[in-house]
Amino acid sequence: MTHVVAWASLAPVLALAGSLINAFFGRNLKEPAPGIIASLAVAGGFVLAVLAFIGLHGSDAGVQVTFWRYLTAGSLHLDLGFMIDRLSVTMMLIITGVGLLIHIYSIGYMHGDDGNSRYFAELNLFVAAMLVLVMADSFPLMFIGWEGVGVCSYLLISFWYKDRANPDAGRKAFIVNRVGDVGFLLAMFLTFKEFGTLNIAAVNAAAPAMLYGSGVLTLIGLFYLLGATGKSAQLPLQVWLPDAMAGPTPVSALIHAATMVTAGVYLIARIGAIYAMAPGAAATVAWIGGLTAFVGAFAAFAQTDIKKILAYSTISQVGYMIAAVGAGAYWVGIFHVLTHAFFKALLFLTAGSVIHALGGEQDTRKMGGLGRHMKVTGNTALIATLAISGVPFLSGFFSKDAILSSTLNSSLLAGNGGDALYILLLVTAGMTAGYMFRWYYRVFAGESRVDKHAAEHLHESPPVMTWPLGILALGATFVGYVGLPEFAFPNYIQRWLEPATAKVDFNQLAASTDWLLIGLSVVVVAIGITAAWWVYHVRKGAPVAGLKESNLASASRGALGFDALYRILFVASGEGVSGGIATLDRDVVDRGLAGAGSAVGLLGRLATALQSGFARAYAFAMLLGVLALVVVAALTGVVR
């Protein structure tokens, strides 16, 4: 079975090939062709991933595919190679599976766009980079994918580059990601210094022999965490994600919901062995995740843009995943990546469907009642909303409960506030249900606030867009059943992922306590949904209308002022420095050069006075010169 698994290493090659075909020949292709080529490339990757998934059932160990050695420097050897194990195959299935549906959806969404082939080239390149990221067997190769993902997200966010705001958002995403990348680089340097290798499997194997809780392991963990916060939009680097909504909506679904932001979660799960030995770093990870989950959920309440609400919800949900991997429950984090990929992609694609139907309108204040006109979109959006809220028997319920119980029981968080984190995440779960139903009610239910003009054109999206919605809805409903609560039911994904991740001890609670915890979270979610239903559906937002001008509402609108703070701290100081340099350039360098130029000119003008233009004057000057020579010669006796 080994070579069936090894074939999966062709998946990124396929996506890259699709990207190159579209980049070089896409302009000559008729409209649906670029989308079909791109979809086929991703579909090929999906098939390979499925084969590898089946192939890996036989053994616990992964398959190492090494292509060639591309760098040797002293004791450092870097191989270009892929590690295809249970963890990376799970990520590959998510990337190519959800990615494929989004590619197909994009064929409809990007229909008639001038940059159609460019769009699909970049989308495929993104999938290729993400696959490299998850399949890499060494940190540098992972970093190549990591950077590739960053570049592609820059390209796709600024896709409609003619509107100045979009490239600005792309740059912001790229620059904020850079900050995280510095952390990743520093972590790599330290890793090499400590472990003498950059091979991930070797580092994971060596980590358990290190000193438990040592300072350097903690530092490595914190630097990798900095990298993860950049890519996964966690505190304090979460500011780029809401702006990243400037890209086309399927891009938001693919990059900023289903795949790219999960890179940080994957990174921490991949190197779990380090965190398992560094409880300080692990607790920091978990707390960053928990706080981000709370801040994201808080900020989502006051947003009015249909996509920004979802963006903050992504930040919040990724916070959950980070909290889970911080607690050492690596399979739980990846499980939430899986369920989240389905329901968040579905949410974004329904939002895209709405935006498509309304001709580009994104303001939820001009929506409402759309579920009556767009049956498929409305119903699938409801399923996704229920799933993300954590309503029992839908996918989000299972993964969220697993996260909650893992924070409570983790040995890594014992003494590091695991209980407080549990309560924070529980409250956030209620808030999640609240803001997501606010979103649903304002867009799909209630009376219509749509412009008359837009209402006339209201239509359900074409089948190429609704079919992916349906498939994703099925996934959002049923994918959670691979991870039923492990204390009472057979849990498939835990047994599947555990051989590929680090081992962390968890307290075993009595089954009755576990049931109680689940009941508690169901109650919290029910409160959240009921409150949203009463406030936003029954009373049409009246109870919170008075809050609009309050500090609470403006704090939520501004997402706790991180953007404003960074503007003061970094943008303003940067502008100060560049302003100073501009003044220096203008007043010293430019003026100096201009002065030197005019001085030379003046000298030249002086010299022209010598050239009178009268031949006899020159002759007289020559005579004087000769006379002077004669006199000098006579006086000094040079001529004997």
Partner: protein
């Protein structure tokens, strides 16, 4: 035999006349003539010294006479070119006043 200082005095006189001519005359033809005068003043000085040195039996003194021949040949060539230029200027401007020839100046 005429003593050398006489020749040198004549040579100096010719040179002075020539240089005054160059400085004072405005017609390019006369300037040209004066330049020839200065050139021949120098020639005269050279052959005079050459004669004096050869009378004392210095063999290399003949080189002075050779130099004069070369200068004469060059002067002839120069006259041909210079007069050609003068004719061309005259055709263009119907004047050979050197004070008016200052277009090359800025």
């Amino acid at each position: 035999m005429v003593p050398t200082p006489y020749y040198i005095a004549l040579s100096a006189l010719l040179l002075t006349i020539g240089s005054v001519g160059v400085l004072t005359r405005r017609s390019a033809i006369m300037v040209f003539l004066s330049v020839e005068l200065m050139l021949n003043a120098a020639n005269l000085a050279i052959v005079a010294f050459a004669r004096q040195w050869s009378a004392r039996g210095v063999e290399s003194a003949l080189s002075g006479q050779a130099a004069v021949f070369i200068i004469l040949a060059i002067a002839a060539a120069e006259v041909a070119v210079g007069l050609g230029i003068l004719v061309a200027i005259f055709r263009n401007r119907v004047s050979t006043d050197v004070d008016e020839l200052s277009e090359v100046r800025l």
